[in-house]
């Protein structure tokens, strides 16, 4: 091994603490990148594999009743690879101890074969006995939520008939990864169930003998989806088809895709910010470390080492640190990626997980680390190389502090000698002071942004459930009802306000941009469930135009005043041309509001409602729930408290959960930056401090000269970090917003305070660690040997 390599290893060993601190900062930056990439890739891979293995259909089409022979016609459509017809009906489950009946979906399973499409995965128990018509498979998530196990009995009402069924096994299915109670956005395992049941038994229950009411199609590789949808609609129209749709509009898949997209968006938006901050620190620290090697560089040049040879030596030095950090980050990224993916696997209810990281994530991590580290060293080395070796070998000429002389009078009047040293050093080297300030500020900004994001999540819930939705209970009917139903609700004791609504499924179209969703028909001046603008002021609902949630307006690329095509998917299926009358601030979901009467009018109906929002007197709650439970037309009752809890769960366990990990990483980076700034300042000044000790400064006084500088830089960094943090939180909040919920960029003063306290705490801990180094300085030894 060459002596230079010996030097390299020993130098690394000497600064091991600092090298480790730098490597850790770069490692967590890379960790986040690799982890997020691994997470997103793995979820996509797993989803795809799960869909393939359990043959999730590409096209779904509901009909009122179609004879099974129609399936042959569907199979004959060009591009269709497989077809399955099944019964898919609504059911209500009565569980002991539940105030309201639980909505469920009953799906048929062929008697003597596996379904050609939309197979289920048996998680526990056994498959349905073909000879038994009273056996079912129950959705595992629901069973777990209520402690149901195979062998238990379940009371189910289907098509008005009440039956007791036996749970044979628990199942999962790619079709029902997300199960959302009717009228709500957030999934809730406990309040929505799926049961799989013998085909014959289900046909009998829904009067569909020899027929089906839902067709599933798988497409070949070359199939054109629009053409197939059109052909399916043409074939099924006579049987009451409500319009075929692709898997991308299937409820569960759409939800899952949106969640993964959201993770992908935050994986693209956030890790680069973290990595940039880590890289910036790496650059500052490396350049200062090389700067402190300046005399040794001069000496090597004096011996006749070439610039290239010396450059290579220091390149190896910084690469050893940067690449160790990057490698550590990749390794930890994989480990944490697997763990986080496993968490999401359980949450998304995948039966298995395929973990995969794109090599590009590793490469990006390495390139960023290596480039910034080499840039940091090369910029300094170029400056040192430009000096004659004789100059480089001397310690830099004593810094010219005369610039601060202008302030001399003020200094002498206000500051004692050590404070003047601190102040002059800061003023003398403004670039270095500013870089340290910016570094610590950037670290703080990360914490500010992550804390603001947390605040944003809370704010979203608060706004939605107290400003936008001010009801206590939402009642959903099994089918649209007349105004009698509203009067019945109004007459209940304890019901204070009843506000009817009508939701109809619709396809919204603006040129090539389409969205399959619903039109929310509201009264003109709603009080309980409102549309609000950016200032949280109520928007009146119009009968001459539609009001879109801003997320929806973005998807459709449409602005107020432009015309939107609304294809209503129910009843007479009218197609409306409506101007966009306004864009509403919507934090949850993507509603499109239209005046109730106008909506009914367009359907050729009068006073039809799908449900109502209620405000109730809390004292009458139980009485009201009991009455609602016994109203035959009521399909679902959701309490706002339940809905809010579901959403909190979604945000805390879904795509939003990653914010906790990111916040932790932000904390590590913030601390790492402060600590590294303190360490490098100590390394640079070790000999000066020793001189101070020699001339009689106490340990405390010597430490003050160093820590005073750190303190000033830290304090100045606080406002810098706040401003940077504000802009960073906007970028990060945008990355976290999804189709389902938006995270506003908000100014939460407490996040700034907390981040500032974190930075100060990091500075105090770092200061304490550095102070111990100052105390350990042996004045004689430090002065005896010169580098």
């Amino acid at each position: 091994m060459s002596p230079l390599d010996h030097k390299l290893l020993r130098d690394l060993w000497r600064i091991k603490g600092q090298a480790a601190a730098i490597a850790v900062v770069i490692a967590v930056g890379v960790l986040l990148l690799v982890m997020m990439d691994g997470l997103v890739n793995s979820l996509v891979e797993t989803k795809t594999a799960y869909y393939e293995r359990y043959r999730l259909a590409d096209v779904f089409a509901s009909v009122t009743r179609a004879p099974r022979r129609t399936l042959d016609d569907l199979a004959a459509i060009p591009g269709v690879a497989a077809v399955e017809g099944r019964v898919n009906g609504a059911a209500l489950i009565d569980l002991p101890g539940q105030q309201v009946p639980i909505r469920a979906q009953a799906v048929s399973v062929p008697e003597f074969r596996a379904p050609a499409l939309n197979d289920d995965y048996l998680a526990a128990g056994r498959a349905i006995d073909p000879a038994r018509q009273d056996q079912i498979l129950l959705l595992e998530g629901f069973a777990n939520a209520h402690g149901l196990v195979p062998g238990d009995a379940l009371t189910v009402t289907m098509n008005g008939a009440r039956r007791t069924l036996e749970i044979a096994g628990l199942a999962q299915s790619p079709e029902f990864l997300y199960t959302t109670p009717p009228g709500e956005l957030a999934p809730d395992d406990a309040r929505f169930a799926v049961i799989w049941m013998n085909e014959k038994a289900l046909q009998a229950a829904f009067d569909l003998e020899g027929a089906f009411n839902e067709a599933l199609l798988a497409l070949g590789r070359d199939a054109r989806l629009p053409a197939v949808l059109e052909a399916v609609d043409r074939i099924l129209r006579p049987f009451g088809g409500t319009g075929a749709y692709g898997v991308e509009n299937q409820m569960s898949n759409r939800f899952l895709t949106e969640e993964i997209n959201s993770l992908r968006a935050s994986s693209r938006a956030v890790p680069p910010i973290f990595l940039t901050v880590a890289a910036f620190l790496l650059y500052i620290v490396i350049s200062r470390m090389i700067e402190s090697e300046r005399e040794q560089v001069g000496l090597l040049k004096a011996f006749g080492y070439s610039s290239a040879g010396i450059g290579l030596h220091y390149l190896k030095f910084v690469l050893a640190i940067a690449m160790t950090g990057a490698a550590l980050g990749c390794l930890l990224g994989i480990v944490s990626g697997i763990n986080v993916a496993e968490f999401y696997r359980a949450y998304y209810k995948f039966p298995f997980l395929l973990f995969r990281v794109d090599p590009a994530a590793f490469i990006t991590g390495f390139i960023v680390s290596v480039l910034t580290a080499s840039a940091g060293s090369f910029i300094v080395l170029r400056r040192v190389f430009a000096l004659a070796p004789a100059t480089a070998m001397r310690p830099p000429a004593p810094a010219d502090y005369s610039r601060s002389e202008r302030l001399g009078g003020v200094f002498r009047a206000l500051l004692d000698q050590p404070s003047r040293m601190v102040a002059r050093r800061l003023i003398r080297q403004p670039v270095r002071s500013l870089a340290s300030t910016a570094g610590i500020g950037a670290g703080m900004a990360l914490s500010v942004a992550m804390l603001s994001l947390m605040g944003g999540f809370d704010r979203t819930l608060m706004l939605n459930f107290s400003v936008i939705d001010r009801s206590d209970v939402t009642v959903t009917f099994t089918q649209p009802l007349g105004s009698d139903a509203i009067y019945a609700l109004q007459r209940m004791e304890g019901v204070l306000v009843v506000e009817p609504f009508r939701n109809v499924s619709a396809v919204l179209r603006n040129g090539l941009h389409t969205y399959r969703g619903a039109i929310n028909g509201l009264v003109a001046e709603p009080e309980l469930n409102r549309a609000v603008d950016a200032d949280m002021e109520a928007i009146y609902i119009r009968d001459d135009g539609i009001i879109l949630a801003e997320a929806l307006a973005e998807i459709l690329r449409i602005a107020p005043g432009e015309m939107l095509t609304v294809e209503i998917q129910e009843g007479t299926r009218p197609v409306l041309q409506l101007p966009v009358a306004g864009v509403a601030r919507s934090l949850l979901g993507s509603p499109a509001y239209f005046e109730l009467g106008a909506l009914n009018h367009s359907l050729g109906e009068q006073n039809r409602v799908s449900g109502a929002h209620l405000r109730i007197d809390g004292a009458y709650g139980d009485v009201i729930y009991d009455l609602l439970k016994n109203m035959p037309a009521v399909a679902g009752v959701s309490l706002k408290s339940d809905a809010r809890a579901s959403f909190e769960t979604l945000m805390d366990t879904g795509a939003g959960a990653i914010r906790y990990i990111m916040a932790a990483i932000a904390g590590i980076i913030t601390f790492g930056i402060v600590y590294n700034s303190a360490q490098i300042a100590f390394a640079e000044r070790e000999r000066d401090l020793a001189s101070l000790r020699v001339i009689g400064f106490t340990k405390g006084e010597a430490a003050f000269v160093l820590l005073g500088e750190l303190a000033v830089i830290t304090v100045v960094a606080l406002p810098v970090g706040s401003v940077l943090g504000y802009y960073m939180s906007a970028a990060i909040a945008a990355g976290f917003s999804t189709d389902l919920y938006r995270i506003p960029t908000i100014f939460v003063p407490s996040s700034y305070g907390t981040a500032a306290i974190a930075v100060l705490a990091a500075a105090i801990v770092s200061g304490w660690l550095v102070k111990r180094n100052v105390d350990r300085i042996d004045p004689v030894a430090a002065l005896k040997t010169r580098g």
Binding site: P3, A302, G304, P389, A390, K784, R786
Partner: protein
């Protein structure tokens, strides 16, 4: 090796009108103000003078560590003042050894490794252990600078400088940081190097007594040569009286 055959009358260095100015304008410092001198090959030359007289600047330019502002320096047939950085690097690597007042050892390398740092890039070097034996450090090959006394550190620095078999050895205040007894032993080593390897040795000092061991003494003052004297009765280092 140019010093293989000692040719006393051939100058190793020929310096003409050498000027060096640091800084510009009001803050300009004239370190050298037109220096003319010859340093014959194989001699032991002592540069005397008070601090700031310009002797270190001269030595840095002769050693290829710094550029002149004006004037010419010839090293045998080559003109140093016309060389670019790469050529100066080659010159330092091939011909020059340095010994500094503060030793300038790499603290993270042992004595042997500090010597290897130079033998690594030299074309026909001494074995590092041999070079250290030359300065009497056989026993301390694997010690780090921090484990050595000042005199020992300086001897490592000398071993490092001579290990490449330099044509010329520059020593800037080699005894400046040492006590008298240690300083004398270091000077003894330099004298031995001069006689045994035939290298031209240039020593900067402000201790006038060192002049007693020189072939030639160049007296510096205020950036100019004040006097050059040839020492007819040079003594060995042990006999120097401080």
């Amino acid at each position: 090796m140019r010093n293989g055959s000692k040719a006393p009358r051939e100058p190793a260095f020929k310096v003409e009108g050498l000027t060096k100015v640091f800084g510009t304008g009001h803050s300009a410092v004239h370190a050298l103000r037109g220096v003319d001198l010859d340093i014959p090959a194989g001699e032991l030359v002592v540069l005397l003078g008070p601090s700031g007289s310009g002797k270190s600047t001269l030595l840095n330019i002769l050693g290829g560590l710094d550029h002149a502002t004006e004037g010419r320096v010839r090293f045998f047939k080559e003109e140093l003042t016309a060389m670019n950085d790469a050529q100066l690097t080659r010159y330092r690597r091939r011909d020059v050894g340095f010994v500094f007042q503060f030793y300038n050892l790499m603290p993270s390398l042992t004595a042997r490794e500090n010597v290897e740092l130079v033998t690594e890039i030299a074309s026909d070097p001494l074995d590092p252990a041999e070079a250290l034996a030359l300065v009497g450090l056989t026993e301390r090959l694997d010690h780090f600078p921090a484990q050595l006394s000042g005199g020992e550190q300086q001897r490592v620095a000398i071993a490092r400088a001579v290990a490449k078999r330099p044509t010329v050895l520059f020593c800037d205040e080699p005894t400046g940081a040492l006590d008298i007894r240690t300083g004398r032993s270091v000077l003894r080593v330099l004298q031995d190097v001069n006689t045994q390897t035939g290298a031209t040795v240039v020593i900067i000092t402000h201790a006038a007594a060192t002049a007693e061991m020189a072939d030639r003494v160049i007296d510096f003052a205020d950036g100019r040569v004040r006097e050059i004297s040839v020492n007819e009765a040079k003594v060995s280092a042990e006999q120097i009286q401080w």
